[in-house]
């Protein structure tokens, strides 16, 4: 009896291990675009227009880039311009294109122990947080958001690493997990606006600092180099990039809203 059941289970797993024959591409992307629901909105339209299914792996930008370097992607869609340019320069990807932007915000507890509410200078806000030694939750995971946060700290002259584990808390996890931690311990943190707006567990944390030009957040899209990775589906991947940066994709991005608020602003070059 046991062996018959085993054989049956084996047959079951082998029969369906490979997926159907519809063309599909693999996109390594960031959690912010996936968690906000943008892909749920965009991808069905693209698939309807082209018949190409899109499989998205949503991880931090650092991990997405590393996965793409291992050839485990056809297209890379992330938000860390300098890291993306380095990726292309090293020959891992071909031609990076701007796709869209949004912005980061600093969120924090409503009682605002560091007194940063209403500031429009992110660097000044971080300085005050460091002076007050108020809790700050950092992604600490080499993601696009983490890179931005590190760049902002560099401008302040404060050294958060010295306070790591004290008031500076590196969660080493994704945006959602870091927001959950920030809400749980009443900490400040840096988040992209799309993730924040769609986040369901805000507690008494609110947006305190926004509209600093330094908080600009550019997303780019790159085809993984077919020379370097012969398995890359060049044609289908390029079709996706062309669609995203073309009229249909750009207007679909602009139409996407969370509770009536537009969160991604298309800016692909004409």
């Amino acid at each position: 009896m046991t062996f018959r059941a085993l054989t049956l289970a084996l047959a079951l797993c082998c029969a369906s291990a490979t997926s159907a024959d519809t063309p599909s591409i693999l996109v390594q992307s960031t959690t912010s675009t996936a968690n906000s629901g943008l892909y749920d909105n965009l991808l069905p339209r693209f698939t309807e227009a082209t018949g190409i299914a899109v499989n998205v792996v949503a991880v931090g930008t650092g991990q997405a880039i590393r996965n793409a370097q291992n050839c485990d992607a056809d297209v890379l869609l992330v938000h860390a311009k300098s890291a993306e340019e380095a990726f292309v320069a090293a020959g891992y990807g071909v031609s990076r294109q701007d796709l869209m932007y949004n912005d980061f915000v600093i969120v924090g507890p409503a009682d605002d122990p560091a007194g940063v509410a209403g500031l429009t200078d992110a660097g000044a806000a971080l300085s005050r947080i460091a002076e007050a030694e108020a809790l700050f939750a950092s992604r600490g995971d080499d993601s696009g958001t983490h890179k931005k946060e590190r760049a902002l700290w560099e401008g302040t002259g404060a050294d958060p690493d010295a306070a790591s584990g004290d008031w500076y808390r590196e969660t080493g996890s994704g945006m959602g997990a870091t927001l959950n931690a920030a809400v749980g311990m009443g900490a400040y943190t840096l988040t992209d606006r799309a993730t924040w707006l769609s986040f369901g567990n805000k507690g008494d944390v609110a947006v305190l600092v926004e509209h600093d030009p330094a908080l600009f957040n550019q997303y780019g899209v790159i085809l993984v180099s077919p020379d370097r990775c012969p398995d890359v589906k060049e044609e289908d991947g390029m079709a996706f990039i062309d669609w995203l940066t073309g009229r249909d994709g750009q207007s679909a991005i602009a139409e996407f809203t969370i509770d009536g608020t537009q969160v991604f602003f298309p800016n692909a070059p004409e």
Partner: protein, 235 residues
């Protein structure tokens, strides 16, 4: 604790509404973890039987190693399988990364040591009991192992369930090698991780409740099989 009540409400609504996405995720979870359990039993039980019945140099070390491997961290297994199946890895040409097959492989590696170690324990006790009888019957090695596996089948079912429990509950390995891709590799645990990261704690908890019910159903089914067979045997 509003989330608790809300989670329960969502869980009941999800299950009753026959939500298509939920069923897809539930079925994939079952397919992956049951396949991995089956493979782990095929590998682990004979291995456990060998360790239980044979005496050879290095046997003690082998038993310690297999026992230690029960503590394999899922995320480490995930990482190793990722590196092996990655396009730039040694098995990259098969294109298995980010497929259910990759998830089955990772979970098999994760739970085969559990099945082997527990089988060894169960069968060793049984072997002590039967050894003399086997000898008087003049049974060969293979026949003796087959007899042991058959007579120990009820205890081995529990061993299989322990492996299944570990497989269906783990998230670290499947999220790395499966990628949590919607409609392709999303299973219950990765969906729970996703909803938690979206801050939708009630929905995450609701999925957790559904997962627990699922484990309950599988355990009850095995229990049912065991009871009906047990009754037949004693009839």
């Amino acid at each position: 604790m509003n989330d608790m009540a809300e989670a329960l409400r969502i869980a009941v609504t999800l299950v009753l509404s026959g939500d298509g996405d939920l069923w897809e995720i539930v079925l994939l979870s079952l397919r992956v973890s049951l396949s991995a359990t089956a493979l782990a039993c095929l590998i682990g039980m004979p291995l456990g039987a060998l360790l239980a019945t044979q005496r050879f140099a290095g046997r003690g070390a082998a038993i310690v190693c297999i026992n230690a491997l029960m503590g394999l961290p899922p995320v480490v297994v995930g990482l190793m399988v990722y590196l092996a199946l990655s396009r730039s890895g040694p098995l990259g040409t098969f294109g298995l990364l980010y497929t259910p097959a990759a998830m089955i492989i990772a979970q098999t590696i994760l739970i085969a040591p559990i099945v082997a170690a527990l089988s060894r324990q169960v069968l060793e006790a049984l072997h002590l009991e039967y050894d003399e009888q086997f000898r008087s019957l003049g049974l060969g090695r293979v026949a003796a192992i087959r007899a042991l596996l058959w007579d120990g089948r009820f205890a081995l079912m529990t061993v299989g369930l322990a492996g299944f429990g570990r497989a269906i509950a783990e998230v670290g390995a499947v999220i790395v090698v499966g990628g949590n891709i919607d409609h392709l590799t999303r299973v219950m645990t990765t969906a729970i991780a996703l909803e938690t990261s979206k801050g939708d704690l009630a929905l995450a908890l609701a999925l957790g409740l559904v997962l627990m019910v699922l484990a309950l159903v599988v355990n009850a089914a095995v229990h049912g099989v065991r009871n009906s067979e047990g009754q037949l045997a004693h009839a």
